[in-house]
């Protein structure tokens, strides 16, 4: 779909480039709120987003996908790492510079109820960004609001109504109109359709795709629904316990998931076809606490790779390129830069081997 989509980390001149991003939340206890530890919500995350592409970010609750999205916009202050947007270092920006760049980087939230001020009319909500960024005023602003509302499929007359008068899908359209009002280049879509019914979800997804085409938008699309992400994303990053564990084009990821966690995740999705009842990789237990992630590979306690051994507990796997543009965090999936000698030294007993259970393949 996009020429840069397949080139993974090395995309030339990306719109957004994130390097070694970390966000730790302090864990405090006692009367004096002494810091007793830290919760590594985002733990050394690196990726690029090319112009015009949609990068999907998937993972389960607490994997750090939402924190990553917000840290990029500095809605949450990152602990460490580099965020470069169109060649500008976002983390080094002053508050006023940041306000300028936020015009170009917008966000659409999951909950269309709590993200709209109930005391403001739809018109005022959509108009606010125009005023703050001095893009239009008076009659010109009114005209722009009308245009934005019709662009997202709402009647311009609705400008004088309040959020509670609208359905969930319509409110999500209002949130989209607000994000579009400042003519952004990049939009973080944080679970924009997960609160919506299936038929309304399809309407909003189609709208987001139309807007991307018409305005040359770049999306970071955060979701837990793997089928929605496959549909909308050019490339997909899978997160687990604050780390990206697999990053590939959507086609490659769904056809040949290499990280055992991605395999389990894909095999767990219920298939809306009673004839397709298939084997399933059932993961045991729950996701460990991000306050004390397992050493080595964060997924090793639940991993089903047949070559899993002590080396997985000792060696932190790099996110390495196993096939062109296909990055995987696993020292047991061949090829790997962590040699068998190194693995044996760490106590490994099973040499790396390619493992692709049929249950995970959606072809």
């Amino acid at each position: 779909m996009n020429s840069a989509a397949g080139s993974g980390q090395s995309a030339s001149n990306p719109l957004l480039s994130v390097r070694n991003l970390r966000k730790e939340f302090p864990i405090r206890k006692g009367v004096f709120s002494r810091q007793v530890g830290s919760l590594k919500a985002v733990n050394d995350v690196t990726f690029d987003v090319s112009r015009g592409e949609t990068l999907g970010v998937v993972g389960e609750s607490g994997c750090g996908k939402t924190t990553t999205g917000r840290a990029i916009l500095r809605l949450i202050e990152p602990t460490d790492g580099q965020i470069v947007f169109e060649g500008r270092d976002v983390r080094a920006m002053s508050t006023s510079e940041l306000r300028g760049v936020r015009r170009e980087m917008q966000i659409i939230f999951q909950d269309p109820v709590s993200s709209l001020n109930p005391r403001m009319t739809i018109g005022a909500i959509v108009r606010e960004g125009l005023t703050i960024h001095k893009l239009a005023e008076g009659a010109a602003a009114d005209a722009r609001v009308s245009q934005l509302l019709s662009e997202v499929g709402l009647r311009p007359e609705y400008a004088s109504r309040y959020p509670h008068e609208f359905s969930g899908g319509q409110r999500q359209r209002i949130g989209i109109a607000r994000a579009l009002s400042v003519e952004p280049k990049f939009i973080v879509c944080d679970e924009p359709v997960s609160a919506l019914d299936v038929s309304v979800q399809a309407q909003v997804i189609n709208l987001l795709e139309d807007l991307q085409r018409d305005h040359n938008l770049t999306y970071m699309f955060i979701a837990h629904d793997l089928s929605v992400v496959e549909h909308i994303a050019d490339r997909v990053a899978v997160m687990y316990l604050g780390k990206i564990v697999e990053l590939a084009t959507a086609d490659d990821l769904y056809r040949e998931p290499l990280m055992p966690y991605t395999q389990a995740l894909l095999s767990a999705v219920p298939v809306a076809d009673p004839k397709a009842r298939k084997e399933r990789i059932i993961l045991s237990g729950d996701v460990p606490s991000p306050a004390s992630p397992p050493p080595g590979c964060v997924f090793h306690p639940r991993c089903h790779h047949p070559a899993k051994d002590v080396a997985c507990m000792k060696i932190v796997p790099p996110l390495e390129e196993k096939a062109p543009g296909h990055f995987v965090h696993c020292i047991k999936q061949t090829p790997t830069t962590i040699s068998w000698e190194q693995q044996k030294e760490a106590g490994g007993v099973h040499p790396p081997e390619r493992y692709l259970p049929l249950a995970a393949v959606h072809a």
Partner: protein, 342 residues
């Protein structure tokens, strides 16, 4: 053999300030012993109100209208008094709710909450009830159940809490379990664990399950017969294989096509335009008329009955009489979500 549960013309209406909301409006279906029946539909279709009605958990301004019949184990649940109903609820019919956190009491241990069900219904001692609770928690796959039973809900993960609710629902080995979106609040890998567990326990206990969900994937993987609800009515019912192979009602068809499927990516998702009409003012004829790509004008907006369209397959659509109209779809009367709704 008579079905375990037989519902006839169930009508549950809510008397609100803006009119009578006919949330469930003439619903009839059976659940056989040991069977898993699915009810699928979107927000506001009446699927959850149907579930709450079966357990008689409807609060004013809602009311089950007279004439509604819910035959269960030889008695009409609609006419039972409160005392008799209490003996059914949690004992012969139990329910698993969507939100495990709000369905559990935060100030009691989970063991106490599971044991309470056995104390009320089996009349056993505190000690016996506790042992039974620990045993049932173990059956639901909770590791170290004697330790976990002493913990409070906030100390457990979402998946563990849902297992506790399943233990509460199953401790009395009920004839029927109503599962209302039992996995919607859970992550997909945990959802797989819980669905696996429910299906396993059902085989073991021979319990019937009424599975209420918006997720056609969950329906396809767990149920044998499916009921599709729209605007307070059943619009289609069929065995699961038949429904997915030959959906008849245009709403069912639209629902299936608007879902993205992994591995079958289409360039653009089909949408069902428009939104569900208001429950205080259902359209007189077909309730899907305005959103339907095949609709045509019938004299006096005739309300479609449930037509036989195949083996054990019924559909509330006039296409049953004029199937050739399916070859000739038109743009629905409602064009977009934003327009004409609100």
């Amino acid at each position: 053999m008579a079905p375990l549960l037989s519902i006839r013309d169930l009508r549950t209406w809510f008397y609100t300030e803006s009119g009578i909301a006919k949330a469930v409006d003439g619903v009839s279906f059976d659940v056989g012993a040991g069977e898993t029946v699915g009810i699928v539909g979107e927000s506001g279709c009446g699927k959850s109100v149907t579930a709450l009605s079966i357990l008689r958990l409807i609060q004013p301004p809602g009311r089950i209208e007279s004439g509604s019949v819910m035959e269960f184990e030889g008695r009409n649940l609609v006419t039972l008094n409160d005392e008799e109903m209490r003996k059914v609820r949690g004992n012969r019919i139990s329910m698993i709710f969507q939100e495990p956190m709000s369905a559990l009491n935060p100030v009691f241990t989970v063991g106490d909450q599971v044991a309470e069900v056995a104390r009320i219904h089996a009349g056993v001692s505190r000690r016996q009830a506790w042992d039974k609770a620990v045993e049932t928690l173990g059956l639901t796959g909770i590791p170290a159940p004697e330790e976990r039973a002493k913990q409070y809900p906030h100390q457990l993960s979402g998946g563990m809490r849902q297992r506790v609710l399943i233990a509460m629902a199953l401790i009395m080995k009920p004839a029927l379990v109503i599962a209302d979106e039992p996995t919607t609040a859970l992550d997909v890998t945990i959802q797989a664990q819980i669905l696996d567990l429910l299906m396993h326990l059902q085989k073991e206990f021979g319990t019937s399950i009424l599975m209420i969900t918006h997720d056609l994937g969950v329906i396809a993987e767990t149920t044998s017969r499916v009921i599709v609800m729209y605007a307070g009515e059943i619009v289609e019912q069929a065995p699961v294989d038949e429904l997915f192979a030959r959906p008849h009602h245009p709403y069912t068809e639209g629902l299936m096509h608007s879902m993205p499927h992994i591995g079958h990516d289409q360039a653009r998702l089909n949408v069902i335009p428009g939104t569900v009409p208001a429950p205080t003012n259902w359209p007189k004829g077909c309730r899907f008329f305005e959103r339907c790509p095949y609709s045509w004008d019938l004299p006096a907006h005739e309300h479609p009955p449930l037509f036989d369209v195949g083996a054990n397959h019924i559909s509330r659509c006039h296409l049953a009489r004029e199937p050739q109209r399916r070859q000739d779809p038109h743009p629905p009367l409602v064009v977009q979500e934003g327009v004409d709704a609100a």
